[in-house]
Structures are given as C-alpha cells and as structure tokens.
C-alpha cells in the first residue's frame, strides 16, 4: 500500500495542468476570483486560493484572460473573462487532453488483450 503522501503528490501532478484548462473554460462566463474558486470546487476541481489568485493574474499578463473592474456591488471586484487568444489556446489544450484520454484508453485496452 503506497503512503497517502505519495498518492497525494501524484494526484497533485495530475491536476496541476488541468487548473488552467478548467479556468479558461469556466471564464467563458466572466467571473471574479472567489466566485470562480467556488464554481471550480463545485465541479470537482478543488484549487487552493493561493494558487488560483496569482494564476488568474499570470493568465491575464499572458493575454489569455481579459479583465474588467465592477464597482457596482458592495466591494470592487475584478471580473476575468477568457480572451480570443485564450480561446485559441484552450482549444489546443482541450485537443491535447482528449488525445491523452484516447491514448490512455488504447493503452488500457491493449493491455487487457
């Protein structure tokens, strides 16, 4: 039986890249940091707050997200949304994720034969 620590490390590795994909998908609908965190967690992508907030800024700097301040509510909030560039990158990432899934399925079936 592997230790919880080992399992946790592998799961972390597996999840690391998918946070970017999930964020780009989710932000097709504009949203602010905390609400996005809740949505991702609700859909089975638990992300640490101290990972997500800096990540959003980095994706914005890379031009994959655009942002807009909303000052109508009780506190000012920065709403992010996936840019056109972000959408193009997302398509590539989703394609690659599907390819990984296909290859994995092939491998599993090949191994069972």
């Amino acid at each position: 039986m592997v230790s919880d620590e080992v399992l946790r490390t592998h799961l972390q590795e597996l999840r690391r890249g998918t946070v970017v994909v999930a964020s780009l998908v989710a932000l097709r609908l504009p949203d602010y940091g905390y609400a996005l965190l809740q949505r991702l967690t609700g859909h089975g992508f638990p992300v640490d707050a101290n990972t997500l907030y800096p990540l959003l800024r980095r994706l914005e700097e890379q031009g994959l997200l655009t942002s807009e301040w909303n000052t109508e509510e009780s506190r000012p909030r920065k709403f992010y949304r996936t840019s056109e560039e972000g959408e193009r990158v997302l398509q590539r990432l989703l394609g690659d994720l599907a390819a990984v899934q296909t290859s994995l399925t092939d491998l599993i079936e090949g191994a069972q034969r």
């Binding site: 602010y32 905390y34 640490d48 707050a49 101290n50 800096p54 506190r75």
Partner: protein, 315 residues
C-alpha cells in the same frame, strides 16, 4: 477593516513589484473579504473566519512570490548539475594547492612549526570562498534566468574507463603533491633546516657537497616521477611499460640514497657533530642501516605492488 487582514496584505505586497501593488491590493482584499463572508455564511464568527482564511492563504512571502512569478529556490534543476560539477572540480585541487603553497612559503620564512597549520587554515578559507562565490553566481543566474548555453549531454561524454579505473584523480593529486613537497624540501633544508649552527644561522641536514652532483640528480629523478604519475593517470591503470619505468626511477632514487648513507656521505658532517648521540659511531651506523633497509623495503614494495596491479589487468 480588521488589522489582521491589513497586516497580511502589507506583508504580501511588500515584495510585489510596486507598479502593480495597488491593483493587487484591491483585488486580494476583495477576495479575502469574499472568503470571510463565505465562512460566516457557514455560521463561523468573523474573527475565527478571518484567521482561517489567512491561514489557508498561507505564508505571505510565498503568495507574493507566486504573484511576482519568482522562484523559491536558490539553485534550480536547470543550473544544479553545472553548479555541482564546477564546485567539485574547483574544490578538488585549488584549496589543497593554495594550502601547500602557503605552507611552503611559511616554512621558507623560517616558521617551520606553524607551516602546516597555516597551510590547512589557508586551504579551508579558500574552500569556503570558492563555495560562496560559485553559489552566489549560480543563484544570480537562477534569479535572472540566464541561459548557460552549455553543450547538451551526449553519450560521448561517458568515460570509458570509469568503472575499472585503477588510478583515481585523488591518488594522482596526492602522489604529485608529496613529490612536490620532497623536491621543495631538498633546497629548503640547505638554507632553513631549523637546526641552528654554531656561528652562522643554519646547518643543512644533507651534506652540501652533494649539490655538485647527487642532489640535482635525485631532484631530476623526482621530477621524472611526477611525469610518471601523470602518464599513469592518463593510462588509468598500471601497464607493463609503466611498471618498467617506475622500477627504473625507484632504483635511480633508492640505490644512490642507500649507497650514500652507507658510506656516510648523505648527512652533513657538521649536522652529525651537532648531536652528541648521533655523532657516536655506533649510533650513526644504526641510523644509516635503518635508513638503508627502510629505503630498500619501500622501494621493493612499490615495485612489487605495481607489478601485481599490472598483472591483475591481464584478463
């Protein structure tokens, strides 16, 4: 606004680039308040909720590093191997070299007793300096993300004789270091033997008459032995030609030494007379016999040992 969140924000923003500080502060403060509100909705009181949220966000320095996309390592995987190799290379010989040189300079200045301590201390200081500066340079490279442009690794870099190398670099460096010390000692003892003479400052240990031929000859043999050590290292193992040359050089050194000491011509007569015990004929004879037999045994052992090792290399 409670002071805990304020302090957390201040600690985080301290190391975030100034130009983006205000915007990050507004956004992060909003996110923290959102998170606190979320927990209060679960029935937590404000103070406990704030503590939980800030604990969850973790070390401000780490959060700031993520905002600034800064690395939290002194030397990362891109530079580590280059750092390690350079460090090993420099530390393998420079401190020892500096130590020997400083020790020799100290000894030639007449401070025979302190020479070893000075040499060791200089070697340690050199090692610390090398380690510090090399690490500093690599840490700066890591921070500035400088490309090293090192040639990529290929199979050609595999050392053929790595596994069964008989002569290690350490052996060779130690042997050459010892030879250099002996060669340096021969002229030094002429002027600085640390044995005070009657009138003049210094009594050479070896007979100064030997400088006309034998001492230069012995020095030449020792220099040739350094060449042999280098050749041995490059071959990586004992070969029969090396065994032959080694035997010739060993005998070229040992035979004159044994012959000179047996005929009372090796030691300086003034030096011998300086010591009452040594100047008695029986004692001098015993010392001479001891030196002669010891030299013969060491020489014989060295020649036999090299021959055994060369023999083992025949598959």
């Amino acid at each position: 606004m409670s002071s805990l969140t304020d302090r957390y924000l201040a600690a985080t923003l301290r190391s975030v680039p100034a130009g983006r500080r205000a915007e990050i502060e507004t956004e992060l403060r909003g996110s923290i308040e959102d998170m606190i509100d979320g927990r209060r909705a679960d029935g937590r009181d404000t103070e406990a909720a704030e503590r939980e949220v800030l604990n969850e966000l973790g070390d401000p320095a780490q959060l700031a590093a993520r905002y600034a996309d800064r690395r939290l390592q002194l030397i990362g995987p891109a530079y580590y191997l280059a750092w390690e190799r350079l460090m090993k290379l420099l530390l393998s010989f420079i401190p020892a070299l500096v130590g020997v040189v400083v020790g020799l300079v100290e000894a030639s200045d007449g401070n025979g007793g302190g020479a070893i301590g000075e040499g060791i201390s200089a070697a340690i200081q050199t090692a610390v300096q090398i380690a510090f500066w090399v690490t500093l340079v690599f840490a700066v490279l890591e921070r500035t993300n400088t490309a090293l442009h090192l040639p990529a690794w290929t199979v050609d870099q595999l050392r053929e004789d790595h596994v069964n190398r008989q002569i290690t670099p350490v052996d060779t460096v130690a042997a050459i270091g010892f030879l250099v010390l002996v060669i340096a000692y021969l002229p030094i003892q002429q002027f600085r033997s640390f044995v005070p003479g009657d009138g003049h400052g210094n009594l050479p240990i070896l007979d100064p008459a030997l400088w006309s031929f034998w001492l230069p000859f012995l020095i030449a043999v020792l220099v040739a032995t350094i060449g042999l050590e280098v050749a041995k290292f490059r071959a990586g193992r004992w070969t029969w030609p090396l065994v032959g040359v080694n035997a010739v050089l060993d005998l070229a050194f040992a035979v004159p030494v044994i012959w000179l000491i047996s005929t009372d011509r090796l030691l300086n007569p003034d030096f011998v007379h300086r010591w009452e015990w040594l100047s008695q004929a029986d004692n001098l004879h015993n010392v001479a016999t001891f030196v002669a037999v010891g030299t013969a045994l060491i020489t014989a052992w060295d020649i036999i040992d090299s021959a055994i090792k060369a023999y083992r290399n025949r598959h």
